[in-house]
Symmetry: C2
Subunit: 305 residues, 2 copies
């Protein structure tokens, strides 16, 4: 099944304890679509400015991402600047320039309204809603959000969530959204808001999925050198939803595998800046790291006493 993603395409300037890079290709929709493209056809809806050149389209084209929905408008592309300390789970935003993103109105190209899988990346809940008004009978709508929208647009976010099947969210955000400290409690509360499935992204501590019939946890892959955590959550979402989109039906076991595939893609993402690692990633490496996850986590039952 094809996946429609609506989100940001940006230039990121990033400082980590070991390096700094300016104007890297980034944004939630970018990281999501590249990761998802390993598993399913991806359709991208986003906006960029005049400074977004052909060379910036190249990584998407290499991966077969359909850019028909990428609007190029007068002005400069969205820019984000952030810094990481020793804790890779927390980015400090240094600067945000919305630029062309300030007036972004997602508009689906003809024939894309019947895309079966929809991912609403971390953007204004009002824009997420605009997308929901345009799609017809999607099989899966998944969404991400962030602290900024939870505090500034809670009612709008709740309207979006009422139509979302899968919410992907990090552990700080789910506590903020629900007021509950325990993540399983918090996930149950989210399920009352609409989503049947809640995936809690815990960065270097792994991920958790909560649904009516299942509770599943996986630790993060212990990446030896985390170069840049930017895009880890979106790559996770891309792997997770891409894997689901590659299947006709979704058993409980498929959802579990999807969480691991998401973790695999996030573990590659953080190894290099921007799209460095994912651009040269081979499907065989994905299968190998999935097996490494199996080895990392598998244990046997207790021998009968």
């Amino acid at each position: 099944m094809s996946i429609l993603v609506v989100g940001s395409v940006a230039f990121d300037s990033i400082r980590t304890p070991l390096a700094a890079h300016e104007e890297l290709l980034g944004g939630s929709a970018t990281h999501f679509s590249i990761a998802a493209s390993f598993f399913a056809p991806v359709r991208l809806v986003a906006v960029v400015g005049e400074d977004f050149g052909d060379e910036h389209m190249e990584p998407f084209r290499e991966r077969g991402v359909d850019l028909t929905g990428l609007q190029k408008v007068p002005g400069r592309t969205f820019r984000w600047s952030g810094e990481y300390g020793d804790d890779p789970n927390t980015a400090k935003t240094l600067d945000t320039q919305l630029n062309v993103f300030a007036d972004f109105k997602p508009s689906l190209p003809d024939t894309w309204d019947r895309t079966p899988v929809v991912f609403l990346a971390n953007i204004d809940p009002d824009l997420q809603w605009l997308v929901l008004e345009q799609v017809k009978d999607p099989r899966i709508v998944a969404a991400d959000t962030m602290n900024f929208w939870i505090s500034s647009k809670l009612e709008e976010l709740k309207r979006t969530l009422s139509k979302v099947k899968i919410l992907l969210i990090n552990d700080g955000e789910i506590r903020q959204l629900t007021g509950r400290v325990n993540v399983v409690d918090a996930a149950e509360k989210v399920r009352e808001m609409g989503p049947e499935v809640v995936v809690v992204k815990r960065g270097e501590h792994g991920a958790l999925i909560v649904k009516e019939d299942d509770l599943f946890a996986v630790p993060a892959f212990p990446v030896r050198k985390v170069t840049d955590p930017t895009g880890a959550g979106d790559s996770f979402a891309g792997g997770f939803l891409g894997y689901l989109a590659s299947l006709k039906d979704h058993s409980r076991e498929d959802y579990r595998r999807a969480v691991v595939v998401g973790s695999v893609m996030a573990s590659f993402q953080v190894e290099e800046f921007s799209l460095g690692r994912l651009r040269r990633l081979e499907p065989e490496e994905i299968r190998e790291r999935y097996k490494a996850f199996l080895r990392l986590t598998r244990f046997d039952d207790l021998p009968i006493p």
Copy 2:
């Protein structure tokens, strides 16, 4: 095999966001020995004061812990007072009264010097060394430590570590001890100091074991109501080492199971204050929660594409 544990027996006063209790039976050796007693005979070496009555001995006797090495001396028992906020991984110490612990010199009862498994709980590395000087040919020496000793007695701690086979340590402490941010890197560095096996306790984020032939991670059990995190690390150590002591030989799979058993015991420990949960724990509940860990974490390989 029997386990010898040397550590603190204390009265704890604890505040959590939901409750406060005074003068609860606690201490590293207490939590360790009760948890370990489900799997192997436990010998306790510690010191208490005149205020430590028969009623305080009762929980140990119920679990068959051998108290021959428990010195009762003039003065008051060690007291610790601490507080937890919303983050169960971090305790704020409000007050510490060493009392009789200030002059504690661990002294092994006759015949205990040949105990095959030794646990040096989180006490002064000089006292840990005193124990090491008294034991003869132990099969396994395991140890815990804390930030206070890493910053104030690093050389003494390193001397102890040179004789330790298994170090159990939390993730903040292993970073402090090694100066390395990545926990796998940090564990490798610890292995250069002596321990062959490093178990990183990550509280609500689970545990990791690093040995020459293995790397294994398990998420924490998502306990719905964490009442009091005190003693979780020591109960983990008790379950982990108790399980190993119940076996003649230790395969890679046995070490993995031991990490899960430790996680099981810690997950029970935090459900109630002090020894509340462990005093009425049944072996069948341990096996059931172990199976719950299997269900929580198991996933299948990818279908061949």
